[in-house]
Amino acid sequence: MTAAELNALTVHDALARLDNGDCTSVDLVDALAAEIQTRDGDLGAFVSVDVDTARAEAEAADRARAAGKGGRLCGIPIAVKDVLNVRGQPCTCASRILDGYVAPYDATAIARLRAEGAVFLGRTNMDEFAMGGSTENSALHVTRNPRNRAYVPGGSSGGSAAAVAGGLALCALGTDTGGSIRQPAAFCGCVGLKPSYGRVSRYGLTAFASSLDQIGPMTRTVRDAALLQEILSGVDPLDATSVAAPVPPYAAQLTTDLRGVTLGVPAEYGVEGLDAGVDKAVREAIARCRALGARVVEVSLPHTAYAIATYYIVATAEASANLARFDGVRYGKRCADAQDPLDLYKRTRAAGFGPEVKRRIILGTYVLSSGYHHAYYLKAQKVRTLIRRDFEQAFAVCDALLTPCTPTPAFRIGEKTQDPLQMYLGDIFTVTANLAGIAGLSVPCGATPEGLPIGLQILGPAMKEENVLRVGHANETARGEGWIG
């Protein structure tokens, strides 16, 4: 097989090829490494690639496969967002403040993939500490949208989305706190699953907002996402918020029709600023679901208008504490010639964090500070309860919800960097899933006339990943375009 053919494979295809002996894991690693070497200078999806280690892991996987002992992902190269700890690798979170840090342990998600034979190819770019929606907040470099180099890939998991959609990785891990898997998947035209809160262990995921963060797969097909999710799901004694719910065989349960499925369309999704192309593509998707046998009902999520406000209070409050540990004492980069610990902290953090991270730390510190705690933080926690209830009521009458993933397709690099509030407002469709702890999937559902991908968001009840995967797979299959390499 040619390198181009190898790089265009889905995970399931690659597994079949490996099984047949059409290629080896080393072939896959070599082909991707060569492609990264050639094209990533321009695309900027990766922040680091360790070909030697990946090759060694691939050789081990090939031996295991030959011995009939390979796991479910034996020999599959995977790209990992730079926010996850992989033993022996740097984990910079695209921040200067973690310069020099080498992870001494595997995140649980990594350990689970490793146990199934996955090969860790490289680390992908992101908005610094996962704060942003364009990957422009990376302290390292810009990542471009593989569909159009002038556009952002979305974020914060922009590097993972660009790598998967751009032919530099068969699959990747992302993390999603307010849409950071789904939005870049929509912008780049790949599949992104944000699992329910507690579905995947967060141990080893550098926390942005602990009550919202989840790790999830970014893939070329829904079936691939289902396979990865089967492996990632499950309770972990190292993460007290992980949930011991049974893990269904997601991939095996996929169907091409939607008979017996009730889908809800929220009345509130027609927001101001919704792009006409996005609206059209999503309406087509709704019609397609109907044609596949689904019953479509209108539902109401009345507190959606408060979601972004709630999200930015809760997320930044938690982030302000989570990022306090970056102080130049135990790891990472420290400022020179500090006079005392206070000076060390203030200058290390001033030099180590970029502007968006500083903005959010200040906002989060403010909403928790004495005199403001009740008006902002506590109130937002109560509104969060109302948002959760909205979804409980909606899911009482439907199996999944359909919405656009984003109000607009990808925007141009540099277009929104000076206006953080405008950037935040783009999260309107995605943040609610994190606040409510439910499952959310983004699948490609079309493109604008300029060729920018559009994502359909499918939301499902907590611990019902199978619902969103089924709807996503049926849509993907019915569209019939398959994955476009």
């Binding site: 700890n85 409050a317 504490a321 540990r325 135990r330 500070s369």
Partner: protein, 477 residues
Amino acid sequence: MNYRISIGLEVHVQLQTRSKMFCGCAVAFGAAPNTHVCPVCLGYPGAMPAMNREAVVLTVRTGLMIGSTISTYSKFDRKSYFYPDMPKNYQITQYDRPLCENGTVVADGGDGAKTVRIRRIHLEEDVAKNTHFAQASGVDFNRAGVPLMEIVTQPDMTSPEDAFHFLLALKQILQYADVSGCNLEEGNIRCDVNCSVRPEGQEELGTKTELKNLNTFKGVLHALKYESERQMEVLRTGGRVAQETRRWDADAGETYSMRSKEDAHDYRYFPEPDLMPVVLTEGEVDAWRAALPEMPGDRRTRLVRDHGIPEYDAGVLVADKALADYFEAAAKLAQNAKAVSNWMMTEMLRLLGETERDIRTVPITPAALASLVKLVDARTLNSNTAKEIFAELFATGGDPDAMVKQRGLAQVSDRGAIGALVDAAMAENPGPVADFRGGKVAAAKFLVGQVMKKSKGKADPQLVAKLLEEKLAGGGM
């Protein structure tokens, strides 16, 4: 003018668990620096806390011992402040829903019992230990994350001595509950102290200062004596006490203001998202209550009742749980509690005091003491020899039975042998024999001494006296 003192304490107690509060690192004192650390207790990126159930159990047990209300719903919060000993720059603690609320500790000082009300007991994680060099400070994170229970009192203590006696009483309870090693040298118990003074007759409390860095009970006593005097002097000279945090400098015997804590009071508490709440049912709590260890007062009563030892002795023994444990172990083996108690009250306490040893680590085992008591009861040893053996056992340990056998220390109680010695002594001392027979009863004592001397101390003194009496009365020779 006279002044009234009000003192409240926040006592931090390290719990006796095998592993840390939120990770599996071993709790170990005195290990090489930064060898009992992991991503969790170092605050590495991505690490998450996992709650040690035993720490929750020990905290609840403490609450039950002092009559606290145990919360059926309790949660953990983040308390934010930056300090080099704090790995995450927030501490996981309990803000508004502690595990235990209310309760009382009775402190028995010289001037009568005093009841100190407890406000709350919560669970948190200990911080790292700083060492200071000339140009820098060094941090050892081995201690970071050790389970720490904070016991907060009401300001019910009215003298430094009150605070001292409260701490002794609390330590006794903690030892009985078996929740902490209570080893002050290892920093198992540390205190922050609030102190205020006000003119007599004034109802509301004066402005308080907080004293930090108190690692010994004597330190608390001395610091409070200094600080209450200092505050009274400020008021006497027309000044105002500043609300501030002060540090006790034990070497200088002074407290001084800590500037570094000035802006640290906006802690931005919020619920710890990485930990789930602790919900206890009444059934669970009742079961734990039923399994509580005996309280010191109950044990004292029981020792008097079951072992027939004096009230006073029982009080001394139960004051230190380990001492009482030792006593009970030895008494059971010896079948003579009074004798064991006598040894404990006299030789044992004297030698413990002189050598500054801990009863838990002395070489003389309860079994050895029991054997010694039995040897005396069987008249195999006389009391002087027994004391010598005790001292030796205390210093180096050993088996009294073997020692007696090896060294031929058994006291002679053979009538024939002792009779021969008595005869010899009478023959050698005709004067005293005549004196006795002439009515000087005291002369018999001299003769007993002579016989003992001949036996090299091994003769049974009672048998000697008896035989001597018989022979003197019999008028032989």
